[in-house]
């Protein structure tokens, strides 16, 4: 009996399962997603002289409203427009969401000390030679910075796929905008990441976080660029351009209803969380100086704050026009990334071992 329990614990806590399903994977993300949307609505309501979600569970400040909404969406009819391929129509948002979830299992959320942590038994399996410790991540790769960005940059492809499948003009216009934007923000993300990797002489997020030097101090320019690119990449205000309700109805997701609509909405929030986790590891110390499970919690907390901040911008900004966003990206932020690259080279040479 004890053996069985021990086995169970072993498998549940095994990082490949734990990270991709429990934390920060599916379950944590789902809860954070609801909390984020709740916070978004509540905080915006505070600014806008409103109450926000309230009546569903008054004591929790209307937190259950989101669950009620989700239940309502699950039971509402999924309308499949005439003239589309129903299989692809249903599959497209599922693929998009799946794609946005994958990076969560590669992002290191904490380190595993050789002993003293619940994860210490996996020390050897997830050993990172760069820092001499285990890394709490679903799949440890030494080049995880590259891999995460590579997978996340696939997401817009699926958004375009969604639009293409629905065969709606507003969706097509939205997809065109998304493709323009994705090209511009991906470059910024990669350049910011590159400057950090030059600075810390590594492509391993764990090493950056474990180095003890917060990236936001070592290279603030890269942090700014990364944050703005993150807002663009996850369609947050003021870059909610591809969805632009008053112009494009809902952009690529115009034709979706019911549960498929929830999935399309979830995609961008998950993307936001992924970028926020990378941002935390890269610029905000990640789990340092904690380790093991508390370290993972610290990373999650920081990432949540980043996500909350980025959704709060809804209450402050409207949305830019697509050409303004692109001009901002290519004309002002791209040169800024060269500056950050330079800072990365110099500071990395002088300061960081």
């Amino acid at each position: 009996m004890m053996n069985l329990l021990f086995d169970l614990r072993y498998y549940v806590l095994y990082p490949s399962f734990f990270n991709s399903v429990i934390y920060p994977g599916l379950i944590f993300t789902a809860i954070l997603l609801l909390t984020t949307i709740w916070f978004e609505r509540k905080a915006a309501a505070r600014v806008q002289m409103r109450v926000g979600p309230y009546y569903a569970s008054k004591r929790l400040g209307g937190f259950m409203q989101l669950i009620a909404d989700a239940v309502k969406f699950v039971f509402s009819e999924v309308i499949i427009p005439e003239g589309v391929n129903p299989t692809l129509f249903a599959l497209a948002p599922v693929l998009a969401v799946a794609m946005s979830f994958i990076p969560l299992s590669i992002i290191p959320v904490s380190v595993i000390p050789p002993s003293g942590s619940v994860f210490s038994i996996y020390f050897r399996d997830f050993y990172d030679p760069n820092i001499g410790m285990g890394v709490l991540t679903g799949l440890f790769v030494q080049y995880n910075m590259l891999l995460i960005l590579a997978i996340e940059s696939m997401y817009p492809v699926f958004v375009i796929f969604v639009a293409w499948v629905t065969n709606n003009r507003f969706a097509i216009v939205g997809a065109v905008r998304e493709s323009y934007l994705s090209v511009s923000y991906d470059v910024l993300l990669i350049m910011a990441t590159l400057s950090m990797s030059l600075e810390y002489h590594t492509l391993d997020l764990a090493k950056i976080a474990q180095s003890g030097i917060p990236g936001i101090l070592a290279n603030p320019v890269a942090a700014i660029v990364f944050f703005i690119a993150m807002l663009m990449g996850s369609a947050r205000f003021p870059f909610e351009i591809a969805e632009a309700e008053t112009e494009l109805v809902l952009g690529a997701y115009t034709e979706y209803s019911g549960f498929l609509f929830v999935l399309t909405m979830a995609g961008s929030y998950v993307g936001n969380l992924v970028y926020a986790l990378v941002f935390t590891d890269m610029f905000l110390w990640g789990w340092y100086p904690l380790s093991g499970f508390p370290g993972a919690l610290l990373t999650g907390l920081k990432a949540s704050i980043v996500v909350f901040f980025s959704v709060f911008l809804r209450a402050v900004y409207g949305r830019y026009r697509i050409d303004q966003a692109l001009r901002g990206g290519w004309k002002y932020l791209l040169p800024l990334t060269f500056v950050s690259l330079f800072i990365g080279l110099v500071v990395g040479y002088i300061w960081i071992p």
Binding site: A44, V47, Q48, M49, R50, R169, F170, V173, F237, P238, E240, I241, A244, E245, T246, E247, V249, R314, A315, V316, Y317, G318, R319, Y320, R321, I322, D323, Q324
Partner: protein
């Protein structure tokens, strides 16, 4: 630039074909950014090549119904086109009727008309601002516009008994008198609004994002504004000094001190600034009115005398209201016609009433400000980016029900 690139490519042994991407979009009537309006848009890439504004989805045939109802029954009807600015709709019509009847309006009633009209103007501008804000994605401006409007709507409710569609102005005067409570409410509201305008400036007017979306967007030069017959804040945002309150003062405006904000830029931002400064001017006007309002009757003697003494005692002496004298039921004005104009919230409102001596108007022509913005909008939308469609629409403060009538 493209030609150069093409040349370069050719000399390098490559060729590119530039294929124009064009298509049509039906913006509305089932569209979050269109309201009750269809805009047929032909796009070339992101540029609108041609836009056709197609109103009529909320047409209520006010002009036809106007020929089939008694003059007094028309008051609620003419308010319907712009229920958010109903005082002005009402006022213009009553002024036309009074002109045909030849009625003089007592001073106090004139002041009260201006009072209600300015409150209506503030509420209307705030509404327009809210719509503009949500059009460019600024949800806080939207909520604030509607939230701050509530203050003024409540004053109107206290004054007239209804939040919207007030039917406050009647031939020869107004229905209800000002009470100390309303004066106190107005003082509070003016202070509140002045404070709130500072917040508005911080989060909306000086917001770089809002500036980017409005500045140099939908530029209408002075000549274009005159040629297309723009009205109200849109006209003044293009540098034309024209406000009916100054040009042809009605109600108490000849005795009130206020300025007309004019901006030369002619873009969406100038139009927005005009609206903001008009709100500030309206606040000044309201202060003057509650300070200077003369004592006296609120209904012309000619009608006041017809109210039976018992009812007069109960309503006028008791609650400072007038009840409708019997004359109103189906009066027959003399033959004639009248053209009146008032400066409604969104611009100049023109009434042309032709009377043939019967109890119903022979012809009632109602030209609302938004009606005249149709042509302006159609012209402004040519050659702009698709995303600017909503920005221009919002900055013109086009209100489909008002245009359709």
């Amino acid at each position: 630039m493209t030609d150069q690139a093409e040349e370069l490519m050719k000399s390098g042994g490559m060729e590119i074909d530039v294929i124009p991407v064009s298509g049509e979009l039906n913006v509305g009537p089932q569209h979050p950014g269109s309201g009750h309006l269809r805009i047929y848009v032909r796009l070339n890439g992101d540029i609108i090549e041609e836009a056709q504004v197609e109103p009529g989805y909320v047409h209520r045939a006010v002009e036809k119904l106007g020929e089939n109802r008694n003059y007094i029954h028309l008051i609620p009807l003419v308010e319907r086109p712009a229920i958010l600015d109903s005082i002005h709709m009402n006022l213009g019509y009553i002024m036309a009727v009074e002109k045909i009847l030849g009625v003089d309006v007592p001073d106090r009633a004139q002041y009260l008309r201006s009072f209600a009209a300015e409150i209506s103007r503030i509420a209307s501008h705030l509404y327009g601002m809210g719509i503009l804000a949500i059009f460019i994605g600024h949800s806080t401006g939207f909520m604030w516009g509607f939230g701050d409007r509530e203050v003024w709507v409540q004053i109107l409710e206290a004054l007239t008994g209804a939040r919207i569609t007030n039917s406050y102005v009647i031939p020869g005067g107004v229905r209800r008198d000002l009470t100390p409570t309303i004066v106190e409410m107005t003082r509070k509201a003016v202070t509140y609004m002045r404070r709130k305008i500072k917040d508005w400036e911080n989060i909306f007017l000086n917001n770089p994002n809002v500036k980017a979306r409005l500045q140099d967007v939908g530029i209408m030069t002075r000549e274009q504004a005159i040629e297309w017959g723009a009205v109200g804040p849109n006209l003044r945002g293009s540098g034309v000094y024209y406000d009916v309150r100054k040009v042809e003062p009605y109600a108490a405006y000849s005795r009130l001190d206020f300025e007309i904000p004019v901006y030369k830029e002619g873009d969406g931002y100038a139009r927005t600034l005009v609206r903001f400064e008009e709100i500030q001017q309206s606040l000044n006007i309201l202060e003057q009115i509650i300070r200077d309002i003369p004592e006296g009757q609120i209904l012309s003697d000619r009608f006041f005398k017809q109210i039976p003494p018992t009812r007069l005692k109960k309503w006028w002496e008791g609650q400072r209201r007038v009840v409708m004298p019997g004359y109103y039921a189906s009066f027959r004005p003399p033959k004639g016609e009248a053209v009146t104009r008032v400066e409604a919230g969104r611009g100049e409102l023109l009434y042309y009433v032709v009377s043939d001596g019967s109890a119903k108007p022979y012809r009632l022509r109602m030209i609302t400000p938004s009606y005249r913005s149709i042509y302006v909008m159609q012209n402004l939308l040519k050659g702009v980016r698709y995303a600017d469609l909503v920005s221009i629409y919002g900055s013109l403060d086009y209100f489909p029900p008002e245009a359709d009538r």
